[in-house]
Symmetry: C2
Subunit: 334 residues, 2 copies
């Protein structure tokens, strides 16, 4: 199946570039409410499933034992911008388990957000692993291992107990087989497993509704989702899409981006979840796709619909602030 064009980028009134993609909306019972493109083709969810990967941190009792609140749990689900508050909190989480930055195995990179990168460079400092956008997630893995009395050495590897716990958790939530045959290595070195968008949407719908989940998991899932919605800055950062969406609709949306054009979102009030993939991996496209799909599934009189469509269809300006074009979703989505 050829994925439909879902987002167009215009200049001078013409389509300059276009993005193809797939998207699905499901409820906790596994009913498909909307579907477009190859939603049954396996995709690597990358960072879009960090909230699923953080479940063992809560279910194991580690989060409670270490006194983690909403901010720490949000950071454990985050692809953060490497702003000072993010890096500092990742360090604080590690310190709670008696560890520090040297225990991280995510690798080091400059903050991915340009403003955060420039701000750090201006201080004269170099980035550490704490600035890696995944440092909160990795701190959560290390804290879980420490709480369970497992060595955290090599916690990023497929065969480590932490990754086994994550694999079991995600297989249960998504109903998919996760193994070496559908495994790739993520940017932060942990395994990522290719599964259909339908299974990702169903998994997140179950996380917000508790549908078919054991009480411990249902409670942990709700706690993580609520933590992200309560502390959206710690899930991403200043001017980031996930943060903006969760600030736009406080308590009404959970939103998490992943690399290569994946995005998962969930609407607790509506009991539905969205999973999208832009086939070319472009961020600007999935940001527009998710905003348009969320708007579509709000009730007719909801004020947020207009706000979201203004995020989906927006003007592009050049370096002089002159309007040069637009990004807009196609009829396939709106």
């Amino acid at each position: 199946m050829t994925n439909p064009v879902v987002v167009e980028v215009t200049r001078g009134g013409r389509v300059e570039s276009m993005h193809r993609g797939s998207a699905v909306v499901m409820d906790g019972g596994g009913k498909t409410l909307f579907s477009i493109g190859s939603v049954d083709a396996p995709v690597f969810p990358r960072s879009a499933v960090k909230a699923m990967q953080a479940l063992p941190l809560v279910e194991s009792g580690a989060a409670d034992a270490l006194g983690f609140g909403d901010r720490e749990l949000a950071l454990a689900c985050a692809s953060h911008s490497g702003e000072p508050a993010h890096a500092d909190l990742a360090g604080t989480m590690l310190a709670a388990a008696g560890r520090d930055e040297t225990s991280l195995e995510c690798g080091c990179h400059w903050p991915m957000d340009q403003a955060a990168m420039i701000a750090l460079a201006k201080t004269g400092a170099e980035p550490t692993q704490l600035h890696n956008n995944c440092s909160g997630k990795h701190a959560g893995f290390i804290c879980t291992a420490c709480h369970l009395g497992i060595s955290h050495d090599g916690y990023v590897n497929y065969d480590h107990a932490i990754q086994g716990m994550i694999r079991d958790t995600m297989a249960s939530l998504t109903g998919e087989h996760l193994g070496v045959d559908n495994c790739g290595t993520d940017g932060c070195s942990i395994p990522t497993y290719a599964v259909p968008l339908t299974s990702l949407a169903h998994g997140f719908a179950r996380m917000i509704t508790g549908s078919g989940l054991e009480p411990v998991r249902a409670k942990a899932a709700k706690r993580l989702v609520n933590a992200c919605m309560a502390e959206p800055f710690y899930v991403a950062g200043t001017k980031r899409t996930c943060t903006r969406l969760m600030k736009t609709m406080p308590g009404r949306i959970f939103a998490k981006t992943g690399a290569e054009g994946v995005f998962c979102a969930a609407l607790p009030e509506e009991g539905i979840a969205i999973a999208v993939k832009c086939e070319d991996g472009t961020k600007r496209a999935v940001d527009a796709m998710v905003a348009a799909l969320v708007a579509r599934f709000l009730t007719a009189g909801d004020d947020m619909r207009e706000t979201l469509m203004a995020q989906a269809n927006r003007t592009l300006k050049n370096w002089n602030g002159i309007e040069v074009g637009t990004i807009r979703v196609t009829d396939a989505l709106s």
Copy 2:
């Protein structure tokens, strides 16, 4: 026409993302040697045609009057990285015409290259318009206006004499109508005109072969192309694709990228030019496309074919340096 998949990005042995695009290879006589996808659909060439836009600087006599050599001419054709040598030379060009950075109308942005951005931030300085990747091109416009005794105020506007000269030059080279109806505004505020890839490839093939050009234009075109090939650092910068290609094959290739997935290249020895567009505007895709197409049109025993295919099909590593996947061109190109 649905453009074919031309580049795949893999992870864990699976295709994670894919890019569709169009490409054409032509000679100076207008013969099509290779074609794939919608090559007759108008595309905005953006910065890929800066060497065409620099022709009035040479043809007017401004370049000679101001003593510009290969470096200045290369910078006039550049989308540079904003490294100190780039910004300094743009300032020197303006000074030759008795002007300075305040005459530029391109706008200001941090160097687009991450390393250059970090290096500038570490100095504590803020970027100026000289760091704009188009500052050399704009300095060339201002120098041309000064040499011709025209006010350079508003030189970025469609109705300014400088843009009229560029429009006439490009219309003649490409054989296309350029006007308000196919005009958009570029990132640096000058007009950009949507024309078919075939016309772009034909135009560059004429620039390197002189086919059908008046002697003055043929000489100016050769001088600009030779300047870029002689000073590839000034066309882009450290680790940039255009610079790398021209350093890989000294004197044998002219290469120029443009925003939104456009790329033009020309092989003077073979007398052919290449124009490509990735429909989703992604840089990684066109970089691979161009390397593969150049390799395809080199003679069978050419050592460079293997070198170029290693640039087209390359390994992706994560933050820890672990191989996680590949970028590769599809059979449609290779």
